[in-house]
């Protein structure tokens, strides 16, 4: 078990943004990532809803971390998460029915987003509330950013629009396949390839630099 470090560093916040990005690096919570990213606005809404649940449940679990018995902790976490998801579900339904219909069952399925349970188990239950909040914000932004990466690409290619604005004019032939399920897999695969390529290029450059100095 990792020892509890009391200090909050810049690292606590940025960890979720890039180095441990929940989607691109840890491959957690893939189902909503692929399912609702057929337009940028859906992706943004889903990201915000997930961030809220992540933050709220993380805070509560962190506050209660000494009172939850170890044997039933997973069940407790899930019930806490389910409560906040129910709140989000009814809130979105009250604010925008269109958005609610577009996201469908995936709002309720935030409950089973492995990222949230994973963060609860690995971080919130071991750290002070403030630190859990800072880390939760970072993770939430990282998740939303990843959703937007997919949503923007799929909307531009699949419909020729961005946040509903027409980009290419009437002569553009949309790639409908990008809006359909296969598009989700292919776009995420392409992003991962790009990141892997960047990482390997950086590693090679570092190796060469190290060889030159020697």
């Amino acid at each position: 078990m990792i020892k509890e470090k009391p200090t909050i560093t810049w690292e606590t916040f940025t960890e979720g943004l890039w180095r441990e990005n929940p989607v691109f690096v840890m491959l957690l919570g893939m189902c909503p990532v692929l399912a609702v990213t057929n337009s940028a606005i859906n992706a943004l809404a889903m990201g915000l809803a997930t961030t809220f649940v992540l933050l709220a449940s993380g805070t509560l679990i962190s506050l209660l971390r000494h009172n939850i018995p170890k044997q039933v902790r997973i069940a407790t976490y899930i019930v806490i998460i389910a409560t906040f998801v129910t709140i989000v579900d009814y809130t979105i339904q009250a604010i925008s029915l269109d958005l609610y219909n577009a996201l469908g069952a995936f709002i309720q399925l935030i409950v089973v987003n492995c990222m949230i349970l994973g963060r609860a188990e690995a971080y919130a239950s071991r750290n002070r509330p403030l630190k859990a909040i800072v880390n939760g914000i970072g993770m939430g932004i990282g998740f939303t950013f990843a959703l937007l990466c997919l949503g923007v690409v799929r909307e531009i290619l699949g419909a020729g629009t961005l946040f509903g604005l027409d980009l290419f004019g009437p002569r553009f032939e949309p790639w409908v396949v990008m809006l359909l399920p296969p598009g989700g897999f292919l776009v995420l695969g392409a992003w991962l390839l790009l990141f892997e390529w960047m990482k390997q290029r950086k590693e090679r450059a570092e190796l060469e630099a190290a060889a030159e100095t020697r």
Binding site: L27, L28, M30, C31, L34, A35, I74, A75, I78, V79, A82, T83, V85, T86, D89, Y90, A105, Q108, L109, V111, V112, N113, C114, L117, V177, L180, P181, P182, G183, G184, F185, L186, L188, G189, A190, L192, L193, E196, W197, Q200
Partner: protein, 193 residues
């Protein structure tokens, strides 16, 4: 709604609206446990069993919730039932096939957070299926999950024997394979609704 024939519900859940490849449910085990055929098969069976159990329980619970008009508790009630069903499967496997229990590892308790199972319970409630229809729907969804994970495992076993550029090693190539599988399953789209 709720008037579809049983064979239609089954085919729809297996092929046209395959839970993994068309509805994006249950991707974590789909990507995580599909490395080898002999772990993919028990994973598929365990998921299918949990689906059947939780579908029956969800149907009964929904009756209770509707009677007392407390539908806002649906999500919490369903997830609690699914967690117990998974616990049951875990204990059974540990008792009778310890080797298998170890090879599934962390992915066994994670069936709880497999969205395919909660998704199934929610969809059958939205579609207002009766008891028999729910059962067939669960069977179809389970078969569909198994089909997808077995196909994927077969592909990945073949892939291990071929040489690949270094950047495609890891998750990226699995996702692209998933995309191609999903593309081919779209050919069944006309069967469903």
């Amino acid at each position: 709604m709720g008037t579809e024939t049983l064979s239609f519900i089954f085919l729809n859940a297996v092929l046209a609206n395959n839970f993994v490849l068309a509805l994006f449910l249950g991707l974590c085990p789909f990507l995580g446990v599909s490395g080898k055929l002999n772990t993919a098969l028990p994973m598929g069976l365990a998921t299918m069993f949990v689906m059947l159990v939780s579908s029956v329980c969800a149907y009964l619970i929904n009756l209770v919730l509707v009677t007392f008009e407390i539908e806002f508790l649906r999500l919490i009630a369903y997830i609690a039932v699914i967690a117990s069903a998974v616990q049951l499967v875990e204990m059974t496997l540990k008792k009778f096939t310890p080797g298998l229990f170890r090879s599934l590892g962390i992915f066994l308790p994670l069936i709880t957070t497999n969205c395919a199972i909660l998704g199934l319970a929610l969809f059958q409630t939205f579609k207002e299926y009766d008891f028999l229809q729910s059962l067939v729907y669960a069977l179809g969804a389970g078969t569909g999950f198994m089909l997808a994970i077995l196909l994927m495992a077969g592909l990945r076993e073949k892939l291990e024997l071929s040489t690949m550029p270094t950047i495609t090693q890891g998750a990226a190539v699995s996702l692209i394979l998933g995309g191609l599988l999903s593309l081919s399953f779209m050919g069944f789209a006309g069967l469903g609704g």
